[in-house]
Symmetry: C2
Subunit: 465 residues, 2 copies
Amino acid sequence: MIKPRTPPGVMELLPREQIAFQRMLDTIRRNYERFGFLPVETPVFELSETLLTKSGGETERQVYFVQSTGALANAAEAGATAGLPELALRFDLTVPLARYVAEHEHDLTFPFRRYQIQRVYRGERAQRGRFREFYQCDIDVIGKDALSIRFDAEVLAVIHAVFSDLGIGAFTVQLNNRKLMRGFFEGLGVADGDQQMAVLREVDKLDKRGADYVRETLTGAGFGLDADTVQKILDFVAVRSSGHADALARLDALGSGSEVFNQGIAELREVLALVQALGVPETDYSLNLSIARGLDYYTGTVYETQLDDYPQIGSICSGGRYENLASQYSKSKLPGVGISIGLSRLFWQLRDAGLISGSESSSVQALVALMDDAGLADSLDIGRRLRAAGINTEVQMESRKLAKQFQYASRAGIRFVVLAGEDENARGVVTVKDLFREQQFEVPRDDLASSLNVELEQARVLAGR
Amino acid sequence: MIKPRTPPGVMELLPREQIAFQRMLDTIRRNYERFGFLPVETPVFELSETLLTKSGGETERQVYFVQSTGALANAAEAGATAGLPELALRFDLTVPLARYVAEHEHDLTFPFRRYQIQRVYRGERAQRGRFREFYQCDIDVIGKDALSIRFDAEVLAVIHAVFSDLGIGAFTVQLNNRKLMRGFFEGLGVADGDQQMAVLREVDKLDKRGADYVRETLTGAGFGLDADTVQKILDFVAVRSSGHADALARLDALGSGSEVFNQGIAELREVLALVQALGVPETDYSLNLSIARGLDYYTGTVYETQLDDYPQIGSICSGGRYENLASQYSKSKLPGVGISIGLSRLFWQLRDAGLISGSESSSVQALVALMDDAGLADSLDIGRRLRAAGINTEVQMESRKLAKQFQYASRAGIRFVVLAGEDENARGVVTVKDLFREQQFEVPRDDLASSLNVELEQARVLAGR
């Protein structure tokens, strides 16, 4: 006998948790679709030569390769001289998107707005909260040759819609612009991109190590910046806005600089104006000039999103604007803007923080109880009617003690238990026990479905859905 | 530059097709949930020792193994002496279900009703209509120690609900029982399971090769059955019922036999009675005594489903009753009944048969046109209101010729184009062009969302959803 176990580093959920997870996936998808994004799914594996064009170092070492039994035997034969396997599991959704857009370029309409919600794979060292298989929920808008900055504002509105709808607490979408950062650093004489990144990495340690440590490092031998420059950097990255007018004022206060610096400010102004026009409340977005993301990839707008009450969770949704999606597959210039939500990790963190209890209601809304076998046909008929009215219904197929059936419904998170005993049948009614409201009522059998739907609709309205 | 291409043997869809595919997935899921099945997802890879306990032969040769870069390097070092890699991709959803139920047995409530909709992987030789990655959409009910035959009827009702709702034409769920078959063959002296299977494989050639060929083979040296026995077999497997009463009459006509034979008939009777009580129309199910499925796995009820007008597609949903789900992982006896829909293949076949045109409506329901940039804030506001009312809406972020915007909406399958020019704004109205009805109308801006929702609701009712 083999001990049944999942491989290390994966997140497998019990049904109640899976329902909560599925609700989050559905909410994200619903909001992506509401903004007019189209679904794309790509195969779990890509040709290795496709997947590994750009990556290297850390990423490459984390790739999972795939071989059929036959290919494996051949490779074993060839031993150390065998090349890389033909197939590898995707490690993000961006490389597959680039391949997809380049491969299907002539069948797509640009700007191309796609969402993609699939799992990705990384051979991470196993540790708490790190997963080898996890969901990413991405949207991107891809232009051909050019893409209006206006989409950067729309993407922020999508982030806002998703996290409002998820209902996991107050959050702030934090906004910065890579052009502004680049212009700022160049103005200080830190012109090299790698050096800018190195400086930012040190600046990132502000919270943990304190300002003195960061000042010492940046003025030290490794960086050789003068104290005045370091102070300017610390002042710049400390900029946070509170409210729309304050964001504009803080951009004003930066003055003007090089062309790229001014362009960054102009882009931020336009994004802020449109975000307001899109109806995003000013409490929910903020300038944060410390946000950089990957310097080598993002070239304009960058976003991070934090839960206001759980800053330790870090960014729960990140992304930004890039110059060219698919330079390794296509001669076309394909600029884009996009975001990614790492839902497996977010779910794990929310659960860890006690924000997901696993006691949410089941996807099953009603249980038709069965008191004795003679009532089975009746139960099946009641179940059929409830389902026809759109209510997810389980029918007890075997009679057992009523107390057991209530206990089962209660533990499973099923809201309604429907009873149709001899007495009820004689009077053409059924008894409904509402386990959420802890109420019991009788209703004519013909009105059962509509009356449960009224209750369910009320619950949906109360939950803001 | 690398040529962008998908690996051979996978099905990748353009957005319009992906929308059609996603609708089918959603329909299947909705019906599974409506019958009270709970969601389960398992990791794409399992430990090889878990996955390969039972399989062998054909299945084992089709497995895809997974190795991280590090594991791959170690294996190359070890060459031909390396053992099997630690991880392998699932080749169905049944083995992962068995592992899941055994692993989480003490956290699950039995009967355990789960649905699982995920992709599976098989290293098939590449050929038309065969996929190396494809969706399976499964439900199973798992009992502990025992499971009532009543669930076999419920599962048939689920099949019926799914295919009614998919709206891909008339279909028949065909029903048989392995106990009846076993009893029948044993009564003829064909007692060995493997021999029964071999006989059935020959009988399967009736359509292609004709009765004479089959008679010759079965009376020939390989089988050595006498002509009378062969005729009885041919008569038995030819049994097809039309209508409920006819199904019962045909069971009557079989008379009685061994205990297992009689048990098979009793089970079929009970399933038929409950299927009727579940409200499944008698035109949509039928006895078909030629259906066997895998002899070594299924032990009672077996199902296949065919599209009445496309029998050449074969069974589009198959399954049945089994004795013990997880004998290799658990000492508990876990009998179950379940079905699987191979949706990727079905989608491919429906498209091939012209039943899916790719011209279905988009997931985007409305496009807010933009005639000049001054109107952008207005467009964004209209878009926001439509989305708040639950309408999937794309806002044109850059102005261009109106004809281009109509053309775009038309090609994309977007039903409504909303126009708010200066004239309309002055009068507090918007113009709506309904591309499906080829009508144009004006509506007060505040009534736009509700009036589009009325139209969309009508379309949903007409489509029977």
